[in-house]
Point group: C2
Chain length 356, copies 2
């Protein structure tokens, strides 16, 4: 994928800088680790620092001094999961901020205008997310509203945006109902969006249903355009989704579990606080070339974690993101070399004990 701010090689994983910062990591580490794109959040940035600050600073890239492509989630998911008292009408969604209870309204056009101020390289349309489980009827209504909002968004985008500067992705909804997923994907695929996301998954549904929805949705989305699986970041689910043709991922999980002391390695998960690492003076992952593995031992990282040092969060986060970058590079290489199946089998074995 090529943007004015640089090229991004697929498949890729985007670190999550919800409010313009990666949790527990200096932003320059994202550059150094070689991530070509990251994700920020429309809902959060709209509330804080707010549009005035973002506008006056010249957009999010200027504000946070990060000059690679940024994708912004539309805020749909956050409005439905974080805010209080959200009320949906055909025009949009009224909600109260989870921070101070203040009232706000997002229409499909509003979230585009907000993302114009943010100046994200990829904007997402406003969608109506459902939680899991949800009744078939309720999901059906949300799915159709998502389609209508997507149509409205696209029209508004074409008329009012510089499409060379900012791309617009649609989001497929439909919960775990195959017919709804199909309907939604087919309708959206008819519109000339820059890319297509699969939303509303990884929200608590059984893994089999999640995989089934992925497998049936992906082939319905244009092959020439990027497919983005929202909120998925576990190595095995990434591999499954890639095998189905997904190109893009984002998830807070690798950084969240890092802060809880779980580290990804080429041999599987390491729970750094475990007593048997007390005197383990080897790196977390001898095959990892990140500076944490090159510099520190499991024993030291365990000590820092058990002592509650903030430095433990920094080191663990750095390592897990280094792992994710290397993991995606490895997959990309294997795809190019035609050895994806073997690579997938290898990683399935590595993470047989779990990867979340």
């Amino acid at each position: 994928m090529t943007f004015q701010r640089g090229m991004v090689h697929t498949p890729f994983f985007m670190p999550v800088a919800t409010r313009g910062a990666i949790r527990a990591l200096p932003l320059r580490d994202i550059d150094k680790l070689g991530f070509e794109m990251m994700l920020s959040n429309t809902y959060h940035l709209y509330l804080k620092p707010g549009l005035d600050v973002l506008r006056e600073s010249g957009g999010l890239h200027e504000f946070i001094n990060f000059h690679r492509p940024i994708l912004t989630d539309s805020g749909g998911f956050q409005v439905f999961s974080l805010s209080d008292l959200c009320r949906i009408t055909e025009k949009g969604v009224e909600f109260r901020s989870h921070l101070d209870g203040s009232k706000h309204f997002f229409s499909p056009e509003d979230v585009l205008e907000i993302q114009r101020v943010i100046a994200s390289d990829v904007m997402m349309v406003l969608d109506q997310c459902t939680s899991y489980p949800v009744s078939e009827d309720e999901s059906h209504e949300a799915m159709w509203r998502t389609i209508r909002w997507a149509e409205k968004s696209f029209q508004y985008y074409k008329e009012h945006f510089d499409c060379e500067r900012q791309a617009l992705f649609a989001i497929v909804q439909g919960s775990v109902f195959p017919q709804q997923r199909r309907e939604c994907a087919e309708r959206l695929a008819e519109i000339d969006f820059s890319g297509f996301a699969i939303g509303g998954l990884s929200v608590g549904e059984p893994k089999e249903l999640y995989r089934e929805m992925t497998s049936l949705t992906t082939p319905l989305l244009p092959e020439q355009k990027p497919r983005y699986m929202m909120g998925v970041g576990s190595p095995r689910e990434i591999l499954h989704a890639i095998s189905e043709g997904v190109d893009m991922f984002d998830c807070v999980m690798p950084t969240r579990i890092a802060r809880n002391g779980t580290l990804y390695t080429s041999k599987g998960r390491v729970t750094i606080k475990a007593a048997y690492y007390e005197k383990d003076f080897t790196p977390v992952d001898p095959e990892c070339d990140c500076y944490v593995c090159k510099t520190y031992t499991k024993a030291y990282l365990r000590h820092l974690f058990k002592a509650g040092e903030i430095a433990a969060l920094i080191y663990n986060t750095h390592h897990n993101l280094a792992f994710m970058k290397r993991f995606m590079n490895d997959i990309r290489t294997c795809i190019l070399e035609g050895t994806f199946a073997e690579a997938r089998a290898k990683w399935e074995r590595v993470f047989a004990g779990g990867d979340e």
Copy 2:
């Protein structure tokens, strides 16, 4: 000061890595900022990770992979301020760990043996600290015990240690009683310690008393040996102490106030959360060459701080330590150029509004 692990230029400020990590900062930043020495804590390291781990890893430098000189506080201050139920006899101090209530005993010889395992470049003797306020009698007893323990420590050190490898500093006590401070300093100065620390100050006493004690103690300590003011880190008090002949400082204050959003600059303190920085797109300190000032604006740092991002702690800590390093460099240059008085007057003006 020259150590096997490198040279340290006086006067200097030591960042505090209590448990082998700087709070909210990767250790490599300490190297990059040019700090030539840092401080760790015997009491904390003894409890966690414990001597077994430190011994097997080959000492603290190996454990944390930091290879510049490290000074370790003896643990005296922590035993008296942090632990529960501490009982002092002539032999040493019995106390309960503040972590798990377990019972421990430190003799003057014990803390040297612990610091042998830690392999610190500068060891401190065990002293008996008093809180403020304390009665003259109680302080008198603690001061004399501190002297007797120092004598014992020195003898044990000379007999059992490689003095080229590890230096040993004494600590002057005596609370705010001039006669006691004098007595203690004179007695300790008769012993061939590698350096002398002024302890038991900055524990809540009025600033005038603190300065008076500093001024009367310092001239009694050998001029050819380093003088170390323990626990002092505010720019103005550092300047005062240097004017009295102090060479070394340590304090958690610059990093602690950073985590609370207070930043040192060449124009005084900046309280980053203040509303008037909301749209201030200039660096915290245009005269600072640290990467935070070179990369980020006050508006961004304010946003991160108000959003409760861990990255705010990282950036703020980095900046304040960068300030401390530059501040000490500046003072050193002025001393060498004979303009210390002007420099001190300048910094007094800069921090007229406060520096803590």
